[in-house]
């Protein structure tokens, strides 16, 4: 799992380092998956049943990371939505999705 997360991070980072805005956003998406999986992994994998009481008598998996991930997913969703619209507007207004052309003049 950790390796998978690492790979997600590597791919995401590569995407972020490219010039196209869309790829950058996709990169952040992939990284976010990586992050969520990482939190889950760090909570300990497959060590129990689903965190629902009354289903079975097994010990439960660590529920806290799941709750954290839920919050993180939602927050990430909010951020991504905003960022998407932002870059969409930026594309419309600036006429490019190439970050290289978004440098801006230093003296502005």
């Amino acid at each position: 799992m950790s390796l998978l997360v690492g790979l997600f991070f590597a791919i995401g980072t590569y995407l972020i380092l490219t010039k196209s805005l869309l790829r950058i956003i996709l990169g952040t998406s992939i990284i976010s998956h990586g992050v969520h999986l990482l939190i889950l992994t760090m909570g300990g994998l497959k060590t129990g049943g689903p965190p629902l009481l009354g289903l079975q008598d097994l010990p439960f998996t660590d529920a806290l990371p799941q709750a954290l991930i839920l919050t993180a997913i939602v927050i990430n969703f909010a951020t991504t939505a905003l960022f998407l619209v932002l870059s969409y507007r930026a594309y419309k207004v600036l006429g490019t999705d190439d970050t290289d052309q978004m440098r801006g003049n230093h003296d502005e």
Partner: protein
């Protein structure tokens, strides 16, 4: 016994998913991809169902239902998009 069958079907489902993803990736037309996505949804439903049996839990029932709904909405949205070029219309009849 049942477990082995379940495991096997899981494996097949996985293969099916790989195939679907392959279709998703190479396309070549948009309907191809939309189809692939839809199939992926169905595959997911089956996979979750089998997993539930394997894990002996009914905790994932909602998941199954939800996947169904989403895949439904997704298909409609894509259909609409392909027909009109717009997903949500501002006003239909001028």
């Amino acid at each position: 016994m049942i477990e082995i069958i379940l495991m096997l079907s899981l494996g097949f489902l996985a293969l099916s998913m790989m195939a679907t993803i392959f279709r998703l990736v190479i396309g070549p037309t948009i309907p191809d991809r939309v189809q692939a996505l839809d199939i992926l949804g169905i595959n997911l439903i089956s996979a979750v169902a089998i997993l539930s049996v394997l894990l002996k839990t009914h905790a994932f029932m909602e998941v199954i239902l939800l996947i169904g709904i989403l895949s439904f909405i997704g298909t409609i949205a894509f259909a609409r998009f392909m027909e009109r070029g717009v997903v949500i219309e501002r006003r239909r009849h001028k």
